[in-house]
Symmetry: C2
Subunit: 290 residues, 2 copies
């Protein structure tokens, strides 16, 4: 399957958005108000357009994120890092909230669980899978640094944050006045709360991870909220400022960081040999189409 190259856009041109390929309907102020008053529009930041939900899969301690633009009459939604085992939960929530799932996205090729993106595509006609071109995976959209992923007039920008894997990206909400404030960064395994992803396989590199986080994440405004792909200690969110100050690995200098990463002595991930090949094809070894 080819990525849909005509959707590629240069870095940050205004008003050229993926979702604009779908027909746009006029936005009624009344319908926005009614909708957001019913479902609680913004538990995450101060945009009344954004509906945001953080969802947890216990076995792999994975966070899946649901973002939707409730100011658009279609209520376009995207899922970041869905897990195969919780696809029904996620799609049921999307149905209950009256959202239209547009994108099922991954931050990278996971080694600890099977992505739900392929399964979602079999259940939601029209939903597109998204992953970075650098990941070497198949997906409907192969994104690159600087791309925008838009849902209505909200968007995520794509930042390359390799180091845990060669194809890791961080999705960051826009920096324009009509986008959520504070900004939100979905960091995958590049930056975890008080931690980071391991760098000892899948094209990992501790030097590259350090540079990715410092150049692409720690340069964001300090109040930017950090939403990682996992947490093992029960934390749900952090911020750039908090991680710059308190991250026990990434607050160190590069040499110390490399030493820490070389001495983690982590076990081989239990499901890696099954998960990585599956995740290279959206979690489906024999996808119906892709």
């Amino acid at each position: 399957m080819q990525s849909i190259r005509f959707l590629r856009i240069p870095r940050f041109p205004p008003n050229v958005l993926f979702f604009h390929l779908l027909p746009l309907k006029p936005i009624s102020k009344i319908s926005i108000k009614n909708f957001s008053s019913q479902i609680g529009s913004s538990p995450s930041s101060s945009s009344s357009k954004l509906l945001f939900r953080q969802l947890f899969e216990k076995e792999s301690s994975t966070y899946t994120y649901l973002l939707a633009n409730v100011s658009h009459p279609d209520k376009p939604a995207l899922l970041i890092d869905p897990v195969d085992k919780t696809v029904d939960r996620d799609l049921n929530l999307i149905r209950e909230l009256g959202l239209k799932l547009v994108y099922a996205m991954n931050t990278h090729v996971h080694a600890d669980h099977i992505t739900g993106t392929g399964l979602i595509k079999t259940k939601v006609p029209g939903a597109k899978s998204v992953i970075s071109r650098a990941s070497g995976s198949k997906a409907d959209l192969l994104i690159e640094p600087g791309d925008r992923i838009s849902f209505g007039d909200l968007f995520l920008e794509v930042r390359a944050t390799p180091g845990h894997t060669a194809g890791c990206v961080t999705y960051v909400t826009g920096d324009e006045p009509d986008q959520p404030h504070p900004r939100m960064a979905f960091t995958g395994d590049a930056l975890l709360i008080r931690g980071c992803g391991r760098t000892d396989f899948q094209g990992g590199s501790s030097k590259q991870l350090y540079e990715s986080v410092h150049s692409q994440i720690f340069t964001l405004p300090k109040d930017t909220l950090i939403y990682p792909a996992h947490d093992y200690a029960g934390f749900s969110v952090s911020s750039v400022g908090e991680e710059i100050e308190n991250n026990p690995r990434l607050s160190k200098d590069l040499e110390e960081f490399k030493k820490i990463m070389e001495n983690l002595n982590l076990a081989y991930p239990k499901v890696m040999d099954m998960a990585v090949p599956a995740n290279l094809v959206c979690g489906l070894q024999h996808p119906a189409s892709s």
Copy 2:
């Protein structure tokens, strides 16, 4: 131990707040700005004063909530439903964020885990334990419906929501313009996301729970965010409007609700015989002081 009765205040008088018993310092606009830009002030709602964190304890699937007022120079903070096993995590986070823990609160006497409030009191001099008078528990502050629990100029109001236990309360952020919007309701086990607490022991009553939720929670603005004491399916937040529409138990009429609750056939909670007696004394069978 006696509750501190002189802190009792009638329903919602302005400017008479628990925390005002501590010396107030002038609030500098610069210090607010600096602080919130460092730590990400508001992942939950649109108040720049509120720092909010949702924390998870995996074994009992319990949510602990940290709320702090970062516009006050003391950065007063409170914890709702801390768990004994994760007290060190919570206090470490509070230290890292430069907050001052004022209250360690429970929504009710838990049957499935041991509260962390007693342990917190041994580790944080000056922190006060809080629970409802109707719970029959010991604590520093025995609160009643209509009380305000203030931290700086932010406050929670206390609503009685018995039915899971006789002493259950819901804490709700204030409804004044300077309070977080949308409002946030910490519902304990009275209202769970797409569920509710069981009503077959600890003075439980399905009729009473139904009336509590319908009169005290479902009457809040529909965008009020619901933060329960537990979730077993990986949901983190809901809203009043969403639960009115989609809660498979509480969206039914009273008779159907009672039938559902009578036929749950739930197992006896594993740790109840240990947890309830401990939780009646802040989680400490032999508390140093209380």
